[in-house]
């Protein structure tokens, strides 16, 4: 399907049948206030100028695009370029969105911010902007993830945030999101909820996409400068899908550029232990929006698995659901083992330690590059750095730590 003009979502946050506002009545006025504030500020030159200033001077943007030549030569096919979001302040793309939302919070007079986190990258980014803007910050994190991501928990604490362990359900990202929502309902007049991904009730999916789309906008300029043309395909990992939406969105009108989202196949789709909502899920309603969900026959959300905490989520942003159905983007999967192998490959061939999340995107490039011509170009969003994953990798790869 050709998408020449793309203007989703509609006024009520729908991407075709997906998205929307599915929350209890208590939260509706807060979402309306947020929607109205954002609608006014997203075109406000002063707001935009300040956002760009912060991205340049605080985050360190633009992030470079890097030709992974040794990796490409080694594979003997398409040329692989990496969008280096791992070089941002705090080490991942998450900070782009947090700056934008913290600016909104400040504009709305909210002095307390809350966030959910899986891998801890969004929690760290939220704690960082809260420190930067002088706000109180509470981060909800599943107790399982706290164990897996101890370094990030420590970073959040250093930055002055309180980390609240979540013991309910599967004790991972989805439960942290439930708990953050509960906090928000109870403290809605004083608190701004910084959602870390392109999911949740409207206007979060569109707002987070807009803040993250700086990634793709930079690539639109950088790629022709670097190699004289746009890439043949853009590849990004998809948990909730914020780094993928950020790099995909500006490329949606470029019909010759394939968009490929990479979901976590965990131990393999057939084992049921995975987090591939678009590949193996069905549409449903969770966390304020309609989207593809991993659920059982009775509509209960199932527990997910991925080696990377940031992809370990049973839903996905509603715009990805729409991009899948419309055929504009393709969604594929990479297993834990493949991601781990790509992690080591990138470390050894390019001297870059990628996040395990981003390693899924790298792994797909490694999979398809050899069968492509040498003048083809793959642009991979390297969404974060892998320092936080060193204990996990050490354990899985049998390296004494």
């Amino acid at each position: 399907m050709a998408i020449t003009s793309y203007d989703l979502p509609d006024a009520r946050g729908h991407f075709g049948p997906y998205g929307g506002i599915f929350v209890a009545e208590t939260l509706i006025p807060a979402l309306t206030e947020l929607k109205d504030t954002y609608a006014a500020l997203r075109r406000d030159p002063q707001f935009i100028a300040e956002f760009e200033y912060e991205l340049k001077h605080y985050v360190g943007r633009p992030s470079p695009v890097y030709h992974a030549k040794r990796l490409s030569d080694n594979l003997g096919g398409a040329q692989i370029y990496l969008k280096r979001e791992d070089l941002n302040h705090t080490g991942a793309h998450k900070i782009n969105n947090c700056i934008g939302q913290a600016m909104l919070a400040r504009h709305m007079g909210k002095k307390r911010v809350i966030a959910e986190t899986g891998a801890g990258q969004h929690g760290v980014a939220s704690a960082t902007v809260a420190a930067r803007y002088g706000m109180e910050c509470v981060v909800y994190m599943g107790s399982e993830d706290i164990k897996r991501q101890a370094a990030n928990v420590y970073r959040m604490k250093l930055l002055g945030a309180s980390v609240m362990p979540v013991e309910s359900g599967s004790k991972t990202l989805k439960d942290a999101l439930n708990e953050a929502m509960r906090d928000w309902v109870a403290n809605v007049s004083t608190t701004f909820y910084i959602i870390g991904t392109v999911a949740g009730p409207h206007p979060y999916p569109v707002m987070v996409r807009d803040f993250q789309s700086v990634i793709g906008k930079e690539c639109l300029t950088q790629m022709p400068e670097l190699c004289g043309c746009q890439p043949d395909a853009v590849i990004a990992c998809v948990g909730g899908g914020s780094n993928a939406m950020g790099i995909f969105y500006p490329y949606i009108p470029c019909e010759n550029v394939r968009l490929i989202g990479v979901e976590a196949a965990g131990e393999g789709i057939a084992t049921g232990r995975h987090a591939a909502s678009l590949t193996a899920g069905r549409p449903g309603v969770l966390h304020g929006n309609r989207t593809y969900l991993l659920q059982d026959a009775n509509g209960q959300i199932t527990e997910t698995h991925s080696i990377s905490a940031g992809l370990d989520y049973p839903g996905v942003g509603p715009e990805h659901a729409w991009l899948k159905d419309s055929g504009r983007a393709d969604y594929v999967t990479i297993t834990d083992a493949e991601a781990l192998e790509a992690f080591h490959t990138l470390c050894r061939l390019e001297g870059i330690i990628p996040a395990l999340e981003s390693s899924h995107a790298v792994a797909h490039a490694v999979r398809i590059a050899p069968s492509m011509a040498k003048d083809k170009i793959l642009l991979v969003n390297l969404s974060g750095r892998g320092d936080k994953d060193i204990p996990t990798v050490a354990e899985k790869s049998g390296i004494p730590f």
Partner: protein, 270 residues
């Protein structure tokens, strides 16, 4: 006339102020106890029963209901089983209205129309879907009405007049005013704030107004009964279930509900 409407009209005819609506999670503490619990609720003074459909991610609920839902799910309770239990309850009680309260996803997984037909067949009277605000409820409300079910909606302290009007267009049976900003089972509610708000809401919605969230004892039930058309008690009852040994659950829940009933009845005399 729906059973729910009939119940409110009967109460009014009897000169009683407010209905008592207890809430339990279906299948907690054990599926075998749900139908006996429903009868026990009626025997001890319930006018309408709200039956919670357990969901894995109950975002609007506090820990008490969340844990009860986890216990029920661990025992294999599904939406189909909930409907079976309502049908079993109906074998002995064809009067007391039953309202299902839960989240959208289990209903959408079954299919909204399939669910509406099955709920009607089982003897359900009303359905409240916590995460269906009126904006997203057009097809749900239509399916409810096509099957003679009352769609019940939430209103909150934060709801504007415009939103109350939106709910009024779709709601039948009653509306459920959530008395505090927070999740179920949170801190005590502000009786005065509720009392100030209810008459205005009732005038706008044109159906009875139930109040819930934060009602934990007979005294608060009495105070709320003076202004509301129904008093909903959930987390407090579920705590009682949680704390009771299996063989005492029915007796202890009956004692608690009877106490709440007396509180409400005292409001009639005041």
């Amino acid at each position: 006339m729906s059973k729910i409407q009939a119940t409110f009209e009967r109460l009014q005819a009897e000169g009683r102020r407010a209905a008592l609506i207890p809430f339990i999670i279906t299948g907690d503490p054990d599926p075998s106890l749900t139908v006996p619990l429903m009868h026990a609720l009626v025997e001890s003074g319930a006018d309408i029963i709200e039956l919670g459909v357990p969901f894995s991610d109950p975002m609007a609920d506090g820990q008490t209901i969340q844990h009860a839902s986890e216990r029920a799910l661990a025992k294999g309770v599904s939406l189909r089983l909930v409907l079976e239990m309502v049908a079993n309850f109906r074998a002995d009680d064809n009067e007391t209205p039953v309202v299902l309260m839960g989240y959208a996803n289990p209903i959408e997984a079954m299919g909204v129309d399939t669910f509406a037909a099955a709920a009607f067949d089982a003897g359900v009277d009303g359905v409240l879907v916590v995460d269906y605000p009126p904006e997203e409820s057009a097809s749900f409300a239509r399916a409810m009405r096509d099957h003679a079910l009352d769609p019940i909606f939430l209103l909150a302290p934060t709801s504007t007049e415009q939103r109350i009007a939106l709910v009024a267009e779709l709601a039948s049976g009653y509306v459920y005013y959530v008395s505090l900003k927070g999740v179920t089972g949170s801190a005590e509610l502000d009786v005065e704030a509720v009392t100030r708000r209810i008459p205005g809401i009732r005038a706008l919605v044109g159906v009875p107004v139930g109040v819930g969230f934060g009602i934990r004892d007979a005294q608060t039930a009495r105070a709320i009964a003076r202004t509301a058309d129904a008093v909903v008690v959930g987390s407090r009852i579920i705590e009682e279930i949680e704390q009771s040994p299996a063989d005492e659950v029915l007796a202890r829940v009956k004692r608690l509900v009877a106490e709440l009933r007396r509180g409400i009845d005292e409001a009639d005399k005041a």
